[in-house]
Symmetry: C2
Subunit: 1015 residues, 2 copies
C-alpha cells in the first residue's frame, strides 16, 4: 500500500469516527421526507412518481388539483406504501386538508435543502452556521431563463442579493481566524445560464460578449465590496462558453488583478483535466490568484440521456469510480498548483475528502489554504467532523422559492437515493470504512470503460436482440455537436468553400449522362437574393420522356439485383454523405436559409434514412414463412413496383428527397427525382453522392424543372407506377387524383405516397412545466422560420395559466435572434422566396383583422426574405390564421376554458400531422395520447424534430395518406407482396424439417439469379 | 406375464432363430440400393432428395435431363455421400453413361419390389416362389386414373391379367396341399380407385353404382375361373366407398354365395375395429364366408398431412404402437369370427405375426385356415421362417412398369427407412428379440394419445411460440369432410331446409333497423332460373344516404371500443357461422350454383377470415415501441379510418364479403356492405350472423342494390373514406379513379383496397408429374365452373410433353361431371346468370375462330345456365381467349418450345393474380419461383384454393393493388398509423425501466377510455 493510501485511510477513519458520534438524521429519524426517501430507495416506480409529484406540486394552486395529481401519481402503489389507498380515499374527502398537509410536507422537504427564500431570509441560516464555524456561498435559484427580460430580472436579483449579503455580514471574520485575503466572508455563486436566454453552443463568442456585458456591473460591485464570486457550472452544452467567459472577463484590465474569483471543474467530465490545466495555464499567464471548486458534477443522468438521444460521445464517465478517480487526479493538479490556484473540494465523499487532506499534507499545504464545500442540508456529520479536525468548511446555500428551486431539489433527491452515491452507501447501507475508503482506481471495471470516441448510444442496434442479423440493426447518425470548436471551424470553412462555388451550373442527369437543355434556372440565397447559389438545367417534356425511358430500361436489371447489393449502395451513399457533411449543410444554409444546426439536422436525417431503409430492406428482403403446414412450403416476399417519380419539397432539401429516393431505390424501383425549384442545387448534390456511390445508370435520374411542366407530365405518365410526393396539399391532391386514372398501357395501379401540410397545435395544460413549454413551443413555432410541415402554428392555452404563459412567451419571442443564418447562433432566418414572403405577409395582414397582434419583431434585416416573428393572441378557432397553413414564423394563440375545449379546437382543422401537449397530469396526458388527431403526438416536448426510426413521421386527414417516413411499414408502399407456395409432398412423402428460405427469391427476373441447384 | 404373451415370445423367438440363420440381404450386402438406403437413414435431406430423384427419373427421357436432375438434386451433398462431387462432375462429361447407369440402378431398385412388368413377365417370379411354397396375390400397378378412358384401360388390363394368371397356373395346387376351398391358387388384388376417375366422397352411392358396373364383368370372370378377388384399400377418402361397394356387390344374388372375396382392413385407422365388426355382421347376414386382409396401412404420412392441411381429425393413430396394438385387437376379432371370415395377416412385424399364431393356437384354429401375406421383395428371411414353421405365406406381388409403379416404390422405400419400422429396427439397428416382441400396449405413451375428436392440426397457434399471447394465435377452421355419412346427411337436410325458405323477402338493414323500399330484387337459382331463392329490398340513393349517416354516427363510438371487444365480436360471428355452416352452404348451392365442397369451402374461408383478422388485430392493437432511447417513450399504434364501403363479388359470396367486412370492422371502422346482386340473399344471411353476434346498430349496414345507382353514389361520397372492393377490372378501375378525387368536406384521402381479375397460367414442365398436373389443372380450370378469379385459364405446355398432356387432359375433361350442384359429386355446375352465360358462349365462339376446339362437353343439362366445359388447343398467346378474362369453364392450351418461351407467355398478360408450375426440376422450380408474375405462385399444386393465413391472396398489375387478403399486412390498409412520443425526463431525471404499453391507446376518443391514473 502506498504511503498516500495509508494516509487516506487514516484520515478517513478519523472522519468516520467523528461522524459515527453524530450519525446523519436523514437515515435514522422518522418524518415525511425520511419516509419518502426510504420508499424511493425500495421501489423505483415509487421514486419516479414521487419525484414527479414533488416536481409538479409547486405549480398547483387549487387543493382539488393537488389531490387529483396525488391520486393519478400514486394510484395502485399500495404494495410500496402501506395504507396509501386509504390515504388517497381520505384525500378525496378532505381535499383542502390533504393539500395543506402535502404542501407543508413538501415545503419542509425543500427547506431541508434551500437555505432561505431570499437574501434577508437566508441570513438566519448563515448566522447559525457561523456559530458552527461553517462559511457559506450563496446561490440564487432560478427557473430556466427563456427570455432576455427574465435574464435581466435574474441579474437584478443577483445584484440585490449581493448587496444584502455584504450589508448583513459587515464585521464578520474568517471562521478559522486567518487567510481572509484568500477567503472573503461573502461568497456568491453565479448560475451563468440565467444571465442570457439565447446561448447557442455554435456561437460562443456571441454568448461571451453578451454575458460579459451583463455580468460586469455585478462583478464591479462585488470587487468593490470585497465579495468572492464563483461561476457555477451546469450542463456540458454551456461548459466551454462559461470557461471562455471566465477567462475573458478576468483578463480584462478592470478585473485582471482580482484574486477573489473562482470557477467550477466537474470531475465527471472527460474534459475536466484538460480544462483544469488550461485554466491554470491561463491563471499563470494572468499572474493573479484565482479559485477552482472541484466537484463530481450533478447532471450525470441528463448528460447521458442527451448524449444518447443525439448520438454524441458521452461527455461524462459512465462508471462512478472513474469520476471519483478523476476527482483525485484533479485534486493533485490543483494542489500541485497551489501557488496560483486556490482549491475548494466540493464532495460529500469521505474518501475524496480524505484524499485531498492527505495529498495536501504530503505537499505541505496548510489546512487553512484550501476549503471543503458541502451542500446545505446534507452530510451534516461530515461537516461537523471537518470543522472539528480544523479544516475550512463552506456550505453551498441555495436561496429562492420552491418553484424556481425545483430542479435543484430534484437533483438533491436523486443524489440522496442514487444507488452509487456515497451518502446512501455510508448511511443507509452501512458499508464499512475500509470499503468506503478504497482507491477508486481499483473499482473501475476495465472491460466497461467506454472509449471517449464511442457514442453513448446504448440504443444501438435499434432494439435488436442478439439473434438479429447485424445488417438489420440500425443506429442514428450523431448530430454535429457545435459545442466543440473544431465543428464550428469546419462549418465556417465549409461555408467559405460553398460561397466559392456560387454560380456553378448543374446539368440534368439522365441514364448516367449529363444533359443540358439550353435553359438554366437560377437558385438564389434567400438571405441575399442577389447571390446566385447555382444554376440548374431546366428539364422539359422531351427530357422527362428520356428519363422515363432510362428508368424503365434500368428497372429490367435493377429489379433483379439482390437486396444486399441495394442496401450496400445506400450505405455507401450514407458514408459519403457523412464525409461531405459540412459541405452539404453549408449549401443548405445558402440555398434554403437554414441555420447551422437545422442544416446539419437535415443531413443527419438523410443519413438516417439511408441506413434505416437499408436495414429495413434487409428484414423485408428475407422471405417470411406464412402459416406452416406439413407437405407445403409457403412464404411471402416482396417485389419492386417499377419506375418511381419522387417529387420533394425544398424545406428539408436533402432529407426528404433522399428519404423518398432511397426508399424507392432500395426496394428495387428506379427513380426520376424532381427536387423543388428553390433547392435544385442541393438536389444536384444528392445526385452526385449517389453517382459517387456507384448507382447504375438510369436507376436514379436527376430532373429539375417546373412542376407544372414536367411534374404534371410525369405524374400522368403510364410508365410511372409509383409517385412519392411531399409538399403542399394543393399539389398532393392533384397528384392523388391524377394517379387514380389508369391510362392505356399502364402496367400497375399507381401508388402514391403523399405527405402534405399541417396546422399543428400544442395544448398547454394548467399544470404544465412552463420552462419546458415556452422553450419548446418557441422552437417549434419559429425554428427554421416555421417552414416545417410539423411546425407549431396554434398554441392552445388553458385560461388558468394563460397570463403567465403569454407573458413568458412574448418575452421569449422578443429575445429570438433573427438574421442571416450564415452566421452561427441565428434562430430565425429568411423564408424561402419572394412568393412565400408575400404570401406570409398577406396572412399576417389578414391576422391583424381577425385577432390581436401581440408581438411582432421589429429589428430584422432589410435585405432578403425576412419575416418578423409574429404572435397573435385572441385568435378564434375559426379564424383564417387558425385554419390555413402559413408556413412561416407566425404563431396563433387560442385561449380555452378547459381541456375539453382544448382538444376540440386542436382537432378542428383539416389537417392531422403533429400535435403537442404540455402537462404533468398523468390522467390528462393519457387522455391526450388517446385523443389528439395527429400522425405524431408529442408530450412535453417540441412538436418538430422527428428522428428516423424513433418517430416515424407523417399524418392523416388532409396531411397525408397515413404513410410513415422512417417507420417500419414505410417501404411496404414501394413494394408488391407476393406469395410462393410449393407442394413438397410427392407420393405421400414430405420432408419433416421446417423449410428455410434464401434472399434471392426477391429477385424479380433471372439473369443475376444464381441457381443454387446447378453445379 | 399372461400365457398369451409367453406364447407370443416363444413363437417370436422361434421365428427370430430361423431368421438369424439367413439375415435380410438389404441390410448386409453392398450394392446401389443398399447404399442408398444406408445414406437415407443417415441423412434426412439426402433421403428427401434421393426419393424425389427416383420419383422423377422414370419420366425423364433424355440423358442430359437425367444428369441435370442428378446435379440439381444432389448438389452440395458431399458430406453425406463421399466422392459425390467428383461423380457429379464425371456425370457431366459422360451424360449418356451416367444416365444409363442410373436408369439401370433405379430399375434394379424397382425390380426389388415389383414382381414383373406384366402378367406374362410375373410368371417367372411366381413359379420361383411356388418352389419355395410361397403363394401370391397379384396387384396391377397404375398411375392415378384421371379420366374414364384411363379407368377403362385399367379395367381391361386387369381382366387380361386375370386371364393370364388363371391360364398360366392351371394345374397348380395349394402349397400346403389342402384347404383349396378357402384359398384358391390365383389371388388378384384390385386397386379400386383405378376403376373410376370421378369418385367423390360426398357421393358414395354414385361411386358405388358406377364402380359396381365396372367391376361386375371382372368378378364374374373370376368367379367363373375360380380366382380369389381382394379389394385393396388406399387412402381414407376412398375407404367408406370401398367398404360399401364390397358389401353391395357381394350381396347381389349373382355373388352372394361366393366365398373367394376379400377386403382389406387397415389397423392404423381409428375406424378399423368398427369397420371390421360391421363387415363381420354383414358377412353373417350374407351367410357366406369371406376374407379380410389385416394390414397396418401404407399411407400414414399422407393421411397425417392431408388431415393437417384440411384441419381434419387425423384418421390414423399417431403413435406406431397404437397401430400395432390395434392390429392385435383386430387379429382377435378376426380369429374370434373364424367361422365366417378367413384371416390374412399382412405384416412384416414378427411380434404381430407371433401374436396371430399364438392367438390362433389358443383358439384352436389350424395353421392352414389363415394366411400371412408379406410384400414381394421384402422380409425374405421371415417368409422363409414362416414357411418352415408350416404356415401359409402369400406374397403381395405388384405387376407393372416403373412409371406407374413409382408411388408403390416410394412407399416401400419409406417403409424400409422409417424410424419406426420393424425391418429397420430388426435388421439395421439390431434390437433384441425381447425388445421387438414387447406388447405394443406397453409402448403407447398415454400422454401423447390424441383424442379422436382432436384435429390433427399441429400447425395450431399459427407458428406462434409459447410466449405468444393466446389471442394472437390462429388456426384454420376444418373443412367439412364429406367422407363421413353424417356430414352428407346434414348437407342434404340443409338443402331441403333452404328450399323451404325459397321466395323469402329480405329487407335492408340500416342502423340496426329493417328497411324496405317497395322495390324487390329477386335472386334466382342458376341451375333452375325459375326458382326464386329470395327477394331482397333494393336500396336507392335515399337509403344510401341514410346508411352513410348511420355509419358515420356509429363510428363515433365504434372507434372508441377496445381491440379485444371488436376481436371478440368477430369470434362470435365465427362461432355462429360454424353452427349454421350447412345452412349457409346450402343457400350458396342454390343462389350461386356452388358444388357442396365449394360451398363449404366458402363458409370455411369466411370463418378463417373472422378468426385470422381477430388474431391479427390483437397483434396490431398492441402499441409497438419504436427505437428506444433514454428519457423518452415512443410507440406506434393504429387508428381506424372512418366509414368503409364494402363492394363484394358473388363468386365467394360469404367469404370475400365477410373478409372485407370483418377486416373493416375489427379495425374500428364502420361499414356499408353492398353484396353483388346475384348473391344478395347470402349477403342478408351474413348480416343476420353479425346481428346475432351483437354488432351495434350502424356499425354494419346491409345495402343491396344496383352498382350503377348506389355503388357509384357511395364510392363518390365524401364521408366514405375507405372502399374495399373485389370484382371486375372495369369496375375496380372506375372506383380507383373516383377515389382519387378529394371532394369538399372529405376528411381523409380515400383508400381503396382493390382486387380485380386474373388470366392465370399454369406451366407444365417436361418432367412434370402428370398425375398431379392433370388432376390439379382440371380442378383449377373447371372447379366452380372456372368462376374464380384464381382459376386456371391458360395452360402452357412444353412441347416435349405436349401430346401426352393433351391426351390425358382431354380425357380427364371428358370425364367431368356437369350437373345441378344440389346433387353431390358434381364438379361443374351452372354459371351465375344469363349475362355471364351469353358472354361466355360468345367467348367460346370467338375462340373457335382463333384456335382449335379440342374438347367441348355435350351432355349437359338443358335448363339453367350450364356452359359445357371447353378446351381450346393451338391457342396463340395473342388470341382473345388467351388475353381476356373469361370467368367460365373454358381452358386455353398453349404449346411452347421451352421454359423461356413459357415464362414469356405466362407473364404476357395485363394481369398478375395466380400462376402455377408443375415440374420436378429443382433448378426450374427455383427459376419459376423468381420469375412468374403473379401475386400467388403455386408449385406442383392447383392454382386455386388459397387458404387464409397460409396463402395470403391477391395480385398486382391489373389484378389489384398488391393487397393480400388473409395476410399479415392486410389490416394495415384499414388503419392509420400514429406515433405517440413522450418526453419522460423531468429536470434531468428519467426512469430507467423500459416502458410498457397498454391496449387502450388505440382508442380514438375518450368516453369508454378508462383512465388508469384515476382512482
Amino acid at each position: 500500500m502506498s504511503a498516500l493510501q495509508a494516509a487516506v485511510e487514516r484520515r478517513g477513519q478519523q472522519i468516520f469516527d467523528l461522524v459515527d458520534q453524530n450519525p446523519e438524521s436523514l437515515f435514522t429519524k422518522a418524518g415525511f421526507y425520511q419516509r419518502m426517501m426510504a420508499f424511493s430507495m425500495r421501489d423505483e416506480t415509487f421514486k419516479v412518481q414521487m419525484f414527479r409529484f414533488v416536481d409538479v406540486l409547486a405549480s398547483l394552486r387549487r387543493s382539488n388539483d393537488i389531490v387529483n395529481h396525488l391520486r393519478e401519481y400514486f394510484h395502485g402503489m399500495d404494495g410500496v406504501v402501506p395504507m396509501l389507498q386509504t390515504g388517497l380515499r381520505a384525500a378525496g374527502i378532505f381535499p383542502w386538508l390533504t393539500a395543506f398537509v402535502l404542501r407543508r410536507n413538501v415545503s419542509g422537504m425543500a427547506r431541508q435543502f434551500i437555505a432561505g427564500r431570499d437574501g434577508a431570509d437566508v441570513m438566519k441560516t448563515l448566522r447559525k452556521k457561523r456559530r458552527q464555524n461553517i462559511g457559506f456561498t450563496v446561490d440564487l435559484l432560478g427557473e430556466a431563463v427563456v427570455s432576455e427580460r427574465e435574464a435581466d430580472e435574474y441579474a437584478a436579483r443577483a445584484m440585490e442579493l449581493l448587496d444584502t449579503l455584504s450589508r448583513e455580514t459587515r464585521g464578520w471574520t474568517d471562521p478559522l481566524g486567518k487567510n481572509t485575503e484568500l477567503f472573503p466572508v461573502v461568497n456568491l455563486s453565479l448560475k451563468i445560464s440565467a444571465f442570457y436566454s439565447q446561448m447557442d453552443p455554435a456561437a460562443p463568442e456571441e454568448a461571451v460578449e453578451h454575458l460579459a456585458a451583463k455580468l460586469r456591473p455585478i462583478l464591479r460591485r462585488a470587487k468593490e465590496v470585497g465579495v468572492f464570486v464563483n461561476f457555477d457550472m451546469e450542463s456540458y452544452a454551456q461548459k466551454n462558453g462559461t470557461l471562455d467567459l471566465f477567462k475573458q472577463l478576468f483578463t480584462e484590465p478592470e478585473f485582471a488583478d482580482w484574486p477573489h474569483v473562482g470557477i467550477v471543474i466537474q470531475a465527471y467530465l472527460r474534459d475536466a483535466e484538460r480544462d483544469l490545466k488550461s485554466l491554470i495555464a491561463w491563471g499563470r499567464k494572468r499572474g493573479t490568484r484565482f479559485a477552482v471548486r472541484l466537484v463530481k458534477g450533478a447532471y450525470w443522468d441528463y448528460e447521458k440521456i442527451i448524449a444518447q438521444q443525439n448520438g454524441w460521445i458521452c461527455p461524462v464517465f459512465l462508471q462512478k469510480p472513474e469520476s471519483d478517480a478523476n476527482f483525485e487526479a484533479c485534486t493533485r493538479i490543483l494542489l500541485d498548483n497551489e501557488s496560483i490556484v486556490t482549491a475548494a473540494f466540493g464532495s460529500h465523499n469521505v474518501r475524496s475528502i480524505a484524499y485531498a487532506m492527505s495529498y495536501a499534507e504530503e505537499k505541505g499545504i496548510d489546512k487553512s489554504r484550501f476549503e471543503f464545500q458541502l451542500l446545505y442540508g446534507m452530510a451534516g456529520p461530515i461537516k461537523r467532523a471537518l470543522v472539528e479536525l480544523g479544516y475550512r468548511v463552506r456550505e453551498y446555500s441555495p436561496v429562492g422559492e420552491l418553484l424556481p428551486g425545483m430542479s435543484y431539489l430534484v437533483r438533491r433527491l436523486l443524489e440522496n437515493t442514487s444507488n452509487e452515491g456515497f451518502l446512501r452507501a455510508k448511511f443507509s447501507e452501512n458499508l464499512s470504512a475500509a470499503e468506503l475508503l478504497r482507491d477508486p482506481n481499483e473499482l473501475i471495471k476495465p472491460e466497461a470503460i467506454r472509449s471517449s470516441r464511442e457514442p453513448a448510444s446504448g440504443h444501438s442496434r435499434n432494439g435488436a436482440d442478439r439473434e438479429t442479423p447485424p445488417g438489420d440493426s440500425y443506429e442514428n447518425a450523431p448530430l454535429i455537436n457545435f459545442v466543440h470548436p473544431q465543428n464550428q471551424q469546419q462549418m465556417r470553412s465549409a461555408l467559405q468553400a460553398a460561397r466559392s462555388q456560387f454560380g456553378k451550373k448543374y446539368p440534368l442527369v439522365i441514364n448516367g449522362e449529363k444533359v443540358t437543355t439550353g435553359k438554366w434556372m437560377p437558385s438564389v440565397n434567400p438571405s441575399a437574393p442577389n447571390e446566385i447559389v447555382g444554376e440548374v438545367a431546366e428539364a422539359g417534356v422531351p427530357e422527362a420522356e428520356r428519363a422515363v425511358k432510362a428508368a424503365s430500361a434500368a428497372f429490367e436489371h435493377w429489379c433483379r439485383t439482390s437486396v444486399e447489393h441495394r442496401a450496400q449502395l445506400l450505405e455507401r451513399v450514407a458514408a459519403i454523405m457523412e464525409r461531405r457533411r459540412f459541405e452539404l449543410a453549408a449549401v443548405e444554409v445558402y440555398e434554403v436559409g437554414k441555420a447551422w444546426d437545422e442544416a446539419d439536422g437535415d443531413i443527419r436525417e438523410a443519413i438516417d434514412f439511408l441506413l434505416f431503409y437499408a436495414a429495413q430492406m434487409r428484414i423485408l428482403g428475407r422471405p417470411k414463412l406464412t402459416q406452416h403446414v406439413m407437405g407445403e412450403e409457403s412464404y411471402q416476399h416482396y417485389w419492386p413496383r417499377g419506375v418511381a417519380l419522387v417529387i420533394a419539397p425544398w424545406n428539408f432539401p436533402i432529407a426528404i428527397l433522399c428519404g423518398m429516393v432511397s426508399a424507392a431505390i432500395v426496394t428495387g424501383n428506379t427513380v426520376i427525382m424532381k427536387p423543388a425549384e428553390p433547392s435544385s442545387v442541393t438536389g444536384a448534390l444528392l445526385m452526385e453522392l449517389f453517382e459517387e456511390a456507384g448507382v447504375p445508370r438510369g436507376v436514379l435520374n436527376y430532373l429539375p424543372g417546373h412542376g407544372s411542366v414536367i411534374g404534371q407530365h410525369l405524374v400522368d405518365h403510364p410508365e410511372v407506377v409509383m409517385i412519392a410526393f411531399t409538399g403542399s396539399r394543393e399539389v398532393g391532391l392533384r397528384i392523388w387524383e391524377s394517379a387514380g386514372k389508369t391510362r392505356p398501357g399502364q402496367r400497375e395501379l399507381k401508388r402514391v405516397v403523399c405527405e402534405m401540410g399541417g396546422k399543428n397545435a400544442i395544448i398547454v395544460d394548467s399544470d404544465a412545466d412552463l420552462d419546458e413549454t415556452i422553450v419548446d413551443s418557441i422552437y417549434s413555432a419559429f425554428g427554421y422560420q416555421g417552414q416545417k410541415c410539423s411546425a407549431l402554428s396554434r398554441m392552445i392555452v388553458l385560461e388558468e395559466n394563460y397570463d403567465r404563459v403569454i407573458e413568458r412567451l412574448l418575452a421569449a419571442a422578443a429575445s429570438l435572434k433573427v438574421g442571416n443564418p450564415e452566421n452561427p447562433g441565428i434562430t430565425v432566418g429568411p423564408v424561402i422566396d419572394e412568393r412565400a414572403y408575400k404570401r406570409i405577409l398577406e396572412m399576417i395582414e389578414a391576422g391583424k383583422k381577425e385577432a390581436t397582434l401581440a408581438y411582432q419583431a421589429k429589428d430584422i434585416p432589410k435585405d432578403g426574405y425576412f419575416i418578423p416573428p409574429t404572435i397573435f393572441t385572441n385568435v378564434k378557432p375559426t379564424a383564417r390564421i387558425a385554419r390555413e397553413e402559413i408556413f412561416g414564423p407566425v404563431l396563433s394563440v387560442i385561449k380555452v376554458r378547459d381541456l375539453d375545449e382544448a382538444v376540440e379546437v386542436a382537432n378542428s382543422t383539416d389537417y392531422a400531422l403533429t400535435a403537442g401537449f404540455f402537462s404533468r397530469s398523468p390522467a390528462n396526458i393519457h387522455r391526450m395520447k388517446a385523443e389528439l388527431e395527429a400522425g405524431n403526438v408529442y408530450i412535453n416536448r417540441s412538436c418538430t424534430g422527428a428522428v428516423v426510426g424513433r418517430h416515424p413521421f407523417g399524418g392523416f386527414k388532409m396531411s397525408g395518406g397515413g404513410t410513415k417516413a422512417g417507420g417500419g411499414d414505410y417501404l411496404l408502399q414501394f413494394l408488391i407482396p407476393r406469395i410462393v407456395t410449393e407442394n413438397i409432398m410427392r407420393h405421400g412423402f414430405a420432408p419433416e424439417e421446417t423449410p428455410r428460405y434464401r434472399d434471392e427469391f426477391l429477385v424479380r427476373q433471372p439473369g443475376t439469379t444464381v441457381v443454387e441447384g446447378a453445379v
